[in-house]
Amino acid sequence: MSQLILFNITNGLIVGAFYALMAIGLSLILNLSGVINFAHGGFLVIGGYLSYTLTPYLGFWGALIVAPFLTAIIGWLVERLLIRRVYGRDPLYSLLLTFGLAFIIEDGTRQIWGAQGLPVSVPAALSKPLRYEFFFITGYRLFMVAMVAVLIVLLFVLLRYTRSGIRVRAGTLDLETVSALGINVRALRSLNFSVGIFLAGFAGVLAAGQLGLDPNMGDGLLMPSFIAIIVGGVGSLTGTLLGGLLIGVAAGVTAVFFPSASDAIMYVMMAIVLLVRPRGLLGEEGMLS
Amino acid sequence: MNVLEVKNVSKRFGNLVAVRDVSLTVKKGELRAVIGPNGAGKTTFFNLISGFFPPSAGTVIFEDMDVTDLSAQKRVVLGMARTFQITEIFPELSVYENVRIGAESAAGFRLRPWLSAVEKSEIRNLVDETLALCGLTDKAGRLVGELAHGHQRATEIAMALTLRPRLLLLDEPTSGMGDQETYEITQLVRRLHRDSNFTIVLIEHDMRVVFHLADFITVLDQGALLAEGTPKEIEANPAVQAAYLGKAA
């Protein structure tokens, strides 16, 4: 029994780390631009499929690096051409715009890569279990968690120590002042959006290795990301990270006792947080409330 | 009788103390002006009185009732109405509709699915009277968003009046207006005070308006109470002159 629980907690942490990666990208965009990116799951799918297409030429490792960058470039173009036009308008419009975009991306993916799911293989070194007793901790899962950890640490370092990163954080708190200081908010938002999409693309490549590819795969990953943000607190990236890990573990532990309720538990957590602490675990009072 | 008693209120935002230990008593029928140089904490002080946010310390008493912990909305229901420095109206509705929403809310009809003919005519009379008092009768059918600034402000005051407030708080009623509009609003406030006996506290920038209207003046500087007295006393007060001249220089 205890091994089973341990299994599920570990599993939950792995899944949670993955949710967090997705959610942090969403959260970055939401915080600076006030846009809930419905198409985030779509960009994840693009990242996954691009890596699938690139692997024969670049190998697994090459695709792992290049596919997220290509996704980010697509994201940058989308921001320049479309998203930018709805900044400052009622949030309704950014929601609808990205909602429409998600339709287009899903259909486009199906058109290019086919409606059938595609299997994805990962290097043999990563697919073996590490030890027999802990059969469930395959190298690939550890690798996923390690990559997520590296990316998140890197992101936090960039946000803290680079000029653009500091500007993004300042813009999250008080966009008016930032723009009054003569900082180019448009360029900052473009950059920030691309970084968010980069994370989505990366998540897509990692997910493909674990789950295979399917044009709808972004859909099931979008809701946990929303919940991670709400539980963690809107406006706080650390909160989003914490929220992602928490719902992952909660889902994992619930799976031991009530397998069929493991999806629902996230929603229960969200309801409890909204009741007891409406701004979320680490959210600022009044932020977007 | 005291309509408003503010006792030693303070408001801190992080490290910044916006209002420091300010007290104020307003009697029934009085018109009190709160003045002070920019950044003196006037609007913050107003927000504490009207319940926009709670004070960090001190109490606010309205007609012998401690309202310190009550929300803004509850204070309105008790009889405290206010206007804002930047006019807060319903821009896409007509002047009549703006004022009617206030009248229906004040009459306790806000949750009602319908009104009887008698109730409807009561509301209509109240709205018509208030519009006439504020000189808006000929503007009743116009969308507020399309009116001149002075008329928007008058509409906002009319909405506040439908609540039949026993304390009316006006935050810079003439801000951003030309001479003609300033004059009209000043006359309106004067009528409300002299003829209709409203108890009024107002923040004002324009000293002509203040000295023309106020019975008593409270001067704030850097969040604290600097002086209090009749317009004559304030005019002669060297500390007030220093505060204003110091800022001007």
Partner: protein, 318 residues
Amino acid sequence: MIKGRTSRLLVLAAIWAALIAAPYWMPLFGGYTALGSRVLVLALGAMSVNFLLGFTGTLSFGHAAWFGLGAYGAGFCLKWFALSSPLGLLAGTLLGGIAGTLLGALLVRRRGVYFAMVTIAFGQVFYYIAFQWSSVTGGDDGLRGFSRQPLHLGFTTIDLLNNADAFYYFVLVCFAAAVGLMGFILRSPFGRTMIAIRENERRARFLGIPVELHIWIAFSLSCFFMAFAGALYAELNNFADPRVLHYALSGDFVIMAVMGGMRTFWGPLLGAIVFVVLQDYLSSVTVNWMSFIGILIVLIVLFFPRGILGLIRQRSAA
């Protein structure tokens, strides 16, 4: 003023005349009666979303949940409890409306983009429940094995199941009742407070209106209307599956409202007609209909944010 009122009455008369005559003129344009019923039901959903969005200024992007609960509620009732179309509608309306009201209490302190996000996430709860709890809901296959029942009026019995026109008129009567009630509420003192909150929440608060309570009531009413539409939808299809609870459908309702003109009462009806007919047509001619719908949405957001009626109104004002 009088001219405005006359032209408004004329428009109203035209709308109802067109709806009443629909089974006769639709076939001329290649339509069929069941499509007309579908348009009406989805239009009622879009109008319920707009009741909240257009008139209280509160965006729920998870309203399919209440629509879907209405559908399942009607299905459960017809399958297990009572073989009666009206009772099915009642059961669905109560299930979705009450669930929405309860969850609404958790939501009303949130605003704007945060409110939208929480409504989406809560809406999905019911999607997962319907998906997972297959012993009750039929899971992914959907709830089957029920059908709408003949309507007994005492003096006569109307066969709703096999007579498509009869069912269309049944839906139209339900639609008229719900829409009439909506219009009535919006013209009431309470309705005016909703509009006040949309226009300026701070001013509403400083007129003594308890904003959270009023948003909650508006949200709750909107959920009941939505659930009623959902219950009709189940009786239309004799079937309910988890997709009626999915946020993608919520998005469809919002886009119908925006496309038609969300600050207008009848806009969502127009939006629903265009959207449903277009979707029906596109999905019959191309497998890539999703892209077309997506592009349509993007174009509306970028170029016609006020919707069709908003545009007409702007034109006539200029």
